[in-house]
């Protein structure tokens, strides 16, 4: 089975794709068949991914490549391929497992939607594209899948097309990521021009292998930065992060699957995949491209964490948290901790999907309300949701020991501290830890503690089909830490291809206490500030945020997302509007005049030609025409329109032929 799946790797994305096509062809009312098909496709992909994963365990440093020729132009063949290595294998497992949970959750969440079938078709389509992205062995194939997941994201954000805000958000997401993708595409072309091979691994000639890298030479930095543009767009890094919070207009399972667990992580995955290009010619592990990655990551992580503090929409908080965490991963990659970054990506995939699904459950229970200030006291009404959400929150905040997020965050801090270029990112990340704990505490206090407020009066626990995925994901978020701890860093070694040893003593490290203190500080700060968040407290009215009361200016700044959208509206968008208007004006007044002038000259010639034509040539032609017409009239008499006449003439023709033969004989 393991052997077989290596040869048929393409089946993993193909199955969800096929399921998507079949679902798309179903009539609109067939909810049960659609859900069944989608889940079955996902289960099949999960099983196959599992076997692929088993295959990678056999040899350390496993790498299976399957290349094929797509088409040939001239004597030049364009080749694509599939690739299975530890990086791809863990991504496969994570995507299919999280995806399956979310598919199941969606059955409950979308139950009443009239476009249920379409939703599952899109989900399956996304799943197929994402799996294809992960296992592609060619930058071009990866780019194709990259665009396909972008399309799926667009379709799903705008799933409720009847809402103008959803349509706008979908458009925004599509266009913003497209800016990054333009860079990506340029980088791809540049890479192709330099190395002539877009395959990652091709028996020594791939663009990530020594020969290909050697050809790349000094342009590696530019190529890497251009490719990083794509990652910035997709992973919502500063300055292209603006689309991700707006993408929360889509249904919550979509937010969980695409905009938290998988697609937005694709940028991080991309950087990890083409890491040899980034690290080419590194001195002491530092290159200029990696430095850019680090600082973009730091800015994003801090900025998003700050904005998250002042948001009121439950999903937006999580969205900013996602942006912040992705920044964290970028930092980790930039400082050389590829394994740490990927581990955090996987752990984040689980607990962020959990959080989003929990949020979905809360929204479902509160009848569509998303404003955390209107919730409160849900702890008793939704016990399962609450406990799983709390687990997700602790994993995200980085509470050590029991939660996967804590260990991976620890790992990232560790590698960042050792970065030779600067210590600054390390301190910024420590600040980020405090902020993360703070905003998560704020959210959980608003939603689950305190008194019941407007939206939570008639809240109810979600059905079994929705809580089961939550439980599964929560247990994943905890159990996953088994392979992450420094005592037995199995996953780390699996990814970096070194043997793992169990050593209990490494479990307790000095930095662990530091982060424990920081997380504790963040949580304590949160409890201190928001203890009475929803209620009347001293002079503060009940519906005012404590931070807003204390620091109105700062709060307004953060609440409005640091005015970045407005900044873009004033600069980039205004500029394009202006140039559009200018072009319009040029078109109307300048080019039009020019064209008209040419037209006038043409008309002049025309008048002249007409005169010659009418006076000189026509007379002759007219005579000819009269003659032809007379001839035609003569001939058309034979065409009576009576088919039997024609038949008779044919018979006469046969007779004539016979006579002719007789004459010959």
């Amino acid at each position: 089975m393991s052997r077989w799946i290596i040869d048929h790797l393409w089946l993993i994305p193909a199955v969800p794709f096929a399921a998507s096509l079949v679902i798309l062809s179903l009539p609109n009312g067939r909810h049960k068949s659609a859900a069944l098909l989608a889940v079955a496709g996902q289960i099949a992909a999960l099983v196959m991914s599992f076997f692929a994963f088993l295959a990678t365990l056999q040899v350390s440093g496993f790498r299976a490549v399957q290349n094929f020729t797509w088409f040939t132009f001239g004597d030049h063949a364009l080749r694509l391929g599939w690739l299975l290595d530890p990086l791809a294998a863990v991504m496969l497992i994570m995507i299919t497992l999280v995806g399956l949970c979310i598919f199941v959750f969606s059955i409950g969440y979308m139950a009443g939607d009239k476009n249920f079938v379409r939703f599952f078709a899109y989900l399956s389509f996304f799943s197929g594209a994402m799996l294809g992205l992960v296992i592609s062995n060619s930058l071009l194939l990866l780019f194709i899948c990259w665009e396909l997941v972008g399309l799926a994201s667009y379709l799903l954000i705008g799933f409720w097309i009847e809402r103008p805000s959803a349509a706008a958000a979908a458009k925004k997401a599509f266009i913003t990521t497209r800016i990054g993708d333009l860079g990506f595409f340029l980088g791809l072309l540049w890479l192709y021009g330099r190395s002539g091979n877009l395959l990652f691994y091709d028996g020594g000639n791939g663009c990530l292998e020594s020969a290909g890298l050697a050809m790349l030479g000094a342009s590696a930095v530019s190529v890497a930065l251009l490719i990083f543009c794509g990652a910035v767009g997709k992973s919502g890094q500063f300055p292209l992060h603006v689309w991700l919070p707006d993408a929360m207009e889509g249904p919550t399972p979509v937010s969980a699957l695409i905009h938290a667990a998988t697609m937005v992580a694709a940028g991080v995955f991309l950087v990890a995949r083409v890491y040899p290009i980034f690290s080419l010619g590194a001195i002491d592990g530092v290159t200029s491209s990696l430095t850019v990655v680090v600082w973009i990551g730091v800015i994003t992580a801090l900025m998003a964490a700050l904005i998250a503090i002042a948001q009121a929409d439950i999903k937006r908080i999580l969205a900013y948290s996602t942006v912040s965490q992705l920044g964290l991963m970028m930092v980790s990659l930039g400082v050389g901790g590829v394994a740490a970054g990927m581990m955090h990506l996987l752990a984040h995939g689980f607990f962020k999907a959990l959080l989003f699904l929990g949020a979905g459950s809360v929204i479902h229970g509160c009848h569509g309300e998303q404003d955390i200030r209107k919730m409160g006291g849900l702890r008793r009404l939704m016990p399962v949701t609450f406990s799983t959400y709390a687990i997700g929150m602790m994993a995200l905040s980085g509470v050590p020991l029991f939660f996967s997020g804590g260990w991976t965050k620890e790992e990232i801090l560790h590698v960042t501290a050792d970065w030779p270029a600067s210590r600054l990112p390390y301190y910024f990340l420590l600040a980020g830890v405090v902020l993360t704990a703070l905003y998560m505490t704020r959210q959980i206090i608003y939603v689950f503690f305190g008194d019941r407020r407007a939206a939570s009066q008639h809240a109810h626990e979600s059905p079994r089909v929705m809580t089961m995925p939550l439980i599964v994901l929560a247990s994943c978020a905890i159990l996953f830490s088994v392979v992450l701890t420094p005592a037995w860093p199995w996953l780390h070694h699996y990814l970096t291809d070194e043997p793992a040893h169990f050593e209990f003593a490494r479990l307790i490290q000095p930095t662990l206490f530091l982060s424990l203190v920081l997380v504790g500080a963040g949580v304590a700060l949160g409890i201190g500030m928001y203890r009475k968040a929803g209620a009347q407290d001293r002079q503060r009215p009940a519906d005012t945020d404590p931070l807003e009361f204390a620091q109105p200016q700062l709060f307004r700044f953060l609440e409005n997302k640091m005015w970045i959208d407005e900044l873009y509206a004033r600069t980039v968008i205004a500029f394009s509007c202006l140039s559009a208007r200018l072009s319009d004006w040029m078109d109307r007044h300048f080019w039009d005049r020019l064209v008209r002038g040419f037209g006038a000259v043409g008309r002049l010639f025309g008048t002249f030609a007409t005169t010659v034509d009418e006076r000189g040539i026509n007379a002759g032609v007219d005579e000819t025409t009269v003659g032809t017409r007379g001839l035609g009239r003569l001939m058309s008499a034979a065409h009576s329109g009576q088919i039997q006449t024609y038949l008779g003439v044919i018979a006469i023709g046969v007779l004539a032929l016979l006579l002719f033969y007789a004459w010959l004989a």
Binding site: Q644, A651, V654, L658
Partner: protein, 160 residues
């Protein structure tokens, strides 16, 4: 292959064919046409091509004749009767027959008896269809599909 059978079949076939060409009632002409085709099929039997004979009956009586009859029914208001032969047509037909018959009699190489041959089994026909004639067979399949679709499109109710 006996002469008696041949004469009998030829008489029936030609009489039915003549009836099909001259009878005034459309229904009667169609039925005569069916009889004439049964006669042709009988000729095929006589010549040892049983399979083709059966196919002929199957296709012409089972499909074409029924189709014609249906068409008569659907265009009933118009088609009750038709005139029989007209002189021009008859003259031309007789002339063509004369020419052909003259050519046949003139050609000495066709005045031969039947050689003894191996019986033509359905198995042999099937093997030939699946080997040497597989390409024409596919083409005919395509043609029939196209004809089916074309006929459907032609008689579809026009949307107003």
């Amino acid at each position: 292959m006996s002469s008696a059978a041949f004469v009998l079949i030829a008489m029936v076939t030609l009489a039915a064919a003549l009836a099909a060409a001259t009878l005034q009632k459309l229904m009667h002409a169609t039925l005569s046409f069916a009889v004439a085709l049964v006669g042709v099929a009988a000729f095929f039997f006589l010549l040892g091509a049983e399979f083709v004979g059966l196919v002929l009956v199957f296709v012409y009586i089972g499909a074409v004749a029924v189709l014609i009859v249906f068409t008569i029914l659907l265009t009933r208001r118009d088609v009750g009767k038709d005139r029989g032969a007209n002189w021009g047509g008859a003259l031309l037909a007789v002339a063509v027959f004369g020419g052909l018959a003259w050519a046949v009699f003139k050609t000495q190489s066709v005045a031969i008896g039947a050689p003894h041959i191996r019986a033509l089994t359905v198995k042999r026909i099937g093997e030939a269809l699946m080997t040497s004639y597989v390409w024409p067979l596919q083409c005919v399949g395509l043609l029939l599909t196209a004809a089916l679709i074309g006929a459907l499109v032609l008689v579809m109710e026009e949307k107003r």
